[in-house]
């Protein structure tokens, strides 16, 4: 099962994404007096984040199965139907990030905790994007679908339980019973379908 450990310094998060995530609304740039706070939070995060992305391919037939669970619903119909392969992803930054954020709030460093939390949310997203993008490059003979995740539209969050099971020997991630929330918090799951490419003559 492929798994990559990424260097957090090499995960590029666009500045405008970060700006919005950190609550700076529609301003064009992070205000000067907050830049140092943000840089500090970034540096702190780089010390503790251990981004890992693991993925697994499933060959599909008429129906779409992930182990024994059939993938159904409008979102699956729209994005995964007709796929030959489905790739399931799990990306995480590890437990250290949760612990650091908690510590910040306990010590009264609220802003540092808030910024680390925001940057980490994007870091895990962009770690997955990086692998997604690399896979699309490797598989340029196939047509990759839009990336979807449990919790989007009618794709149930309960799917997280199945996905965590798939990767339990590879990645240290748990899922909470009943609520299907992933722990550590900076963890995401996703699916991409791959169709045969039908080049259109343009």
């Amino acid at each position: 099962m492929p798994k990559v450990e990424l260097d957090p310094r090499k995960i590029k998060i666009p500045g405008n994404v970060l700006k919005a995530k950190l609550g700076f609304g529609k301003v064009r740039e992070i205000p000067e007096n907050f830049k140092e706070f943000v840089m500090n939070a970034y540096e702190e995060l780089l010390k503790i984040a251990k981004p890992v992305v693991a993925w697994k391919d499933f060959e599909t037939g008429e129906s779409l199965f992930l182990n024994d669970v059939e993938l159904t619903g409008d979102l699956v119909e729209k994005h995964l139907k007709g796929s030959r392969i489905i790739t399931v992803f799990l990306a995480t930054l590890g437990k250290g990030v949760d612990e650091k954020i908690e510590k910040c709030f306990k010590k009264g460093n609220d802003l540092l905790g808030f910024f680390i939390d925001g940057i980490a949310s994007e870091m895990v997203e962009y770690a997955l994007r990086k692998v997604d993008s690399d896979l699309r490059t490797e598989r340029s003979h196939l047509e990759g679908s839009f990336r979807i995740s449990p919790g989007y539209g009618d794709l149930p969050l309960s799917l997280n339980k199945e996905i965590v099971k798939l990767f339990k020997n590879e990645v240290d991630v748990d899922v909470l019973e009943d609520s299907y929330v992933l722990v550590p918090r900076k963890t995401i799951t996703a699916l991409i379908g791959w169709r045969e490419k039908h080049e259109k003559q343009t």
Binding site: V17, F105, D132, S133, D178, S179, V183, R185
Partner: protein, 768 residues
């Protein structure tokens, strides 16, 4: 050549890839002369670059004609070679592209329109028509208008291309700076609205910025158009190195943004300055064969000048004073072709509060059409205000709409099928919002007649898919001539209830009466109370304007203006995160006051003020958090000096069982604490029975529950039911990403707080 419908079909199935830069590629091959000249000097070099892009995976190549217009070539003494340069360019591109698409590339002239420069609309138009004509003759599949930084020049190019061919696929691009404005001030929403309704197939952005900087501008554009979307960022912001301009973004750093553009709905992706075949190769791989995503356009009713968009989501004053009726001096100046007098009139009205200016040229046959053109082209640039064109003759109306820089109001059309159809077609070609006057031959006197005309107009407008672009004018008749304003008011109410915007020519009411201002003012107030959304009126009438302001405040359509409150030292220190300064300020206060008074009279009001700044969007969430973090130790110090019974009311907060996302809860706890409450934070993933126990023990003023996930919001209900079972009547405030007011009530909560500041407000209403 494929026509626009065939290309639209391709685009509905696949996101296409354009090519990269040409100038920098020619330079690499040792050619640093004018790129367009290479089409006739060394066509094989141009062919080679096209071919490299096709081999790298481009679906579309652009002809090497960015500067191939007569106005631009003239600067290089090459204007006589225009035909040869453009013809060769298309032929070379076609030969290299094979079955791939070829788009004729046309850039701006480098000149500014009058009054910023010297060029009038028709000069731009002719310039672009000539180049586009050759391209279409040679069989391009589309034409792309790139790097335009002025809305009027782009409009001239769009109309020129469309007049050359109804079938050619047409892309219109603008270039924006980091503040999201074009050189002459247009923002992406204005760009979208102005061109969305014209016969353009795709809108887009290119050049000037890199992919990261263009993204938010592109995302904004994508929300206001349902045309196809194209983007070509530069390979980063250029840097000067050893006297050379370098574009620093490597292919892999550029390609990381493709997903974001895809998610924003891009249909054609490419690169501008500094992008190379290596970039395109990687783009091809990342982009793959994706199908485009569907978008839904946000609809707004607005008029625009190059640098200003005026929406009708608030009451709009349309200045009436550029109208020579009853003003002999103005009329004489207009006949003399004096533009300055109109400019001054416009400026005064804008300074007095007019957002749009109605322009009427009186007896049009006695005014030079060139004068009309100059006024219509110049006013929106000099005053920034959009115009309402009150032009009667169809020829002059068309001419005015044609040379207007932006999206004007057009005043007006009667409700006859023939006239409405004519005016709708004109506006579909040139852009604009139509004022529909609810009359056929004469202005009706009764509500019923007006209602009948309104229903008739709706039917015609719907047939022509034009309902989103109208204001209705019920037609005001002079009171002195038995005008029956109550019938007009009834009509305004009827139209407003039907969900449409209205306007009136206000001064018609008092025509021939003494004390006109009083009648106008009274009618305006009554009109607004019935839903009137704009009026063509006199902004220089001070009492009218002041009454308008206070009416809007009373009807809660405008905020009460407040005098600037002096920032207190304490607020400043807290907001800037200067803990030492805040402590020092409190130390000083302690010399005169007791701790409780300092909390009540200084710290709490300071935090309330900060909360209110946050609510109004004047400070951001990080500033609120920093303020809370800064003030907390100061509060702690002061409360420790108080006897237990005065240490503030208790607030218990927890994130429910199953949820470990507690950042929101932490922020709420922090802000509530900094507002002087004693906060008992139970943490995250907390069992219902523990929460209930805490409420029993602490007897808080309220309980705050946070639940972020759809799977955990149900726990709120468990907690509320358990509390009720035990007879604990504590108010429950809830918040979290998956919650809203309605859901909160369904779950049994008493309050929903969308953020920390709202939670504090609720607590305040419950206690002190």
């Amino acid at each position: 050549m494929r026509n626009r419908h065939e290309i639209a079909k391709i685009l509905s199935e696949k996101v296409l890839l354009l090519d990269g830069a040409y100038g920098t590629e020619f330079m690499k091959l040792g050619y640093d002369e004018l790129p367009e000249e290479l089409n006739i000097k060394v066509p094989e070099v141009v062919f080679k670059v096209h071919k490299t892009y096709i081999e790298s995976g481009s679906d579309v190549v652009l002809t090497n004609t960015f500067g191939a217009t007569k106005m631009k070539l003239k600067k290089h003494g090459l204007e006589n070679k225009l035909d040869l340069i453009v013809r060769n360019a298309v032929r070379i591109a076609r030969k290299a592209a094979g079955e791939k698409l070829v788009f004729g590339d046309i850039g701006p002239t480098g000149e500014l329109p009058h009054p910023l420069g010297n060029v009038l609309f028709e000069q731009f138009y002719e310039n672009f028509k000539e180049t586009a004509g050759i391209m279409v003759e040679e069989g391009v599949d589309g034409i792309i208008l790139e790097t335009f930084s002025d809305i009027l020049e782009l409009k001239a190019a769009v109309l020129a291309v469309r007049d050359v061919s109804k079938d050619v696929f047409l892309v219109a691009h603008m270039t924006f700076d980091e503040n999201g404005r074009s050189l002459t001030g247009t923002d992406p929403v204005n760009f979208a609205l102005t061109f969305d309704e014209m016969e353009v197939d795709a809108l887009g952005i290119n050049c000037s910025l890199g992919p990261e900087e263009i993204l938010p501008i592109f995302q904004e554009l994508s929300q206001y158009t349902d045309k196809f979307l194209v983007v070509e960022p530069n390979a980063g912001k250029p840097v000067l190195k050893n006297g050379k301009t370098i574009y620093p973004l490597k292919p892999e750093d550029f390609a990381v943004h493709i997903d974001s553009y895809y998610e924003a709905g891009v249909n054609i992706f490419g690169g501008c300055c500094g992008t190379t075949p290596e970039h395109i190769k990687l783009f091809r791989k990342v982009l793959g064969n994706r199908r485009p995503l569907q978008r839904k356009k946000k609809k707004i009713l607005a008029a625009s000048s190059p640098s200003r968009l005026v929406t009708f989501d608030h009451f709009v004053v349309i200045g009436e004073r550029i109208n020579p009726a009853g003003r002999k001096k103005l009329w004489r100046k207009m006949q003399e072709g004096n533009v300055e007098v109109v400019m001054n009139e416009a400026k005064t009205q804008v300074e007095s509060g007019a957002e749009i200016l109605d322009v009427n040229f009186g007896i049009e046959s006695q005014v030079d059409p060139i004068y009309v053109e100059k006024v219509v082209q110049s006013l929106p640039y000099t005053t920034n205000a959009p115009l309402s064109l009150d032009v009667q003759s169809l020829n002059l109306a068309e001419k005015s709409l044609r040379v207007y820089p932006g999206r004007p109001l057009f005043n007006s059309s009667k409700v006859t099928e023939k006239e409405l159809e004519k005016k709708i077609n004109m506006l579909k070609k040139y852009g604009g919002v139509l004022i529909v006057l609810l009359m056929e031959k004469d202005i009706p006197k009764t509500f019923e007649e007006r209602r009948k005309n309104f229903e008739k107009a709706l039917k015609i407008l719907e047939e022509h898919k034009f309902l989103d672009r109208v204001l209705f004018d019920p037609g005001v008749l002079p009171l002195g001539a038995d005008g029956k304003p109550t019938e007009v008011l009834k009509t305004i109410e009827y139209i407003s209830k039907a969900g449409f915007k209205t306007t009136v020519g206000l001064s018609n009411l008092s025509f021939g009466l003494p004390d006109r201002s009083f009648y106008n003012t009274a009618f305006l107030v009554l009109g607004i109370s019935r839903g009137l959304s704009s009026a063509i009126m006199n902004p220089l009438d001070e009492s009218l304007m002041k009454t308008l302001g206070s009416t809007l405040v009373i009807l809660e359509k405008k905020e009460l203006p407040r005098a600037e409150v002096r920032e207190e030292k304490l607020v400043e220190a807290i907001l800037s995160g200067r803990k030492d300064d805040a402590e020092k300020e409190v130390e000083n206060l302690l010399k005169e006051k007791d701790p409780l008074s300092i909390i009540e009279e200084h710290l709490r009001p300071a935090m309330e003020k900060i909360g209110s700044l946050y609510d109004k969007g004047k400070i951001f969430l990080p500033q609120l958090i920093l303020a809370a973090q800064t003030v907390k130790p100061v509060f702690d110090k002061l409360t420790s000096m108080l006897p237990a019974e005065n240490q503030g009311e208790t607030f218990v907060i927890a994130t429910v069982k199953g949820d470990v996302h507690d950042i929101g809860k932490n922020i709420v706890a922090s802000v509530v604490k900094s507002s002087g409450y004693r906060v008992v934070d139970l943490g995250k993933d907390v069992d219902t029975h523990r929460i209930v126990e805490a409420v029993e023990k602490e007897k808080p003023i309220a309980l705050g529950l946070s639940a972020m996930m759809t799977t955990t919001v149900g726990r709120i209900k468990d907690v509320v039911e358990s509390l009720r079972k035990k007879g604990l009547k504590v108010p429950v405030i809830v918040g979290g990403a998956s919650l809203n007011e309605t859901l909160a009530k369904e779950l049994g909560a008493d309050y929903y707080a969308k953020n920390a500041s709202e939670a504090v407000k609720i607590l305040k209403s419950l206690g002190r």
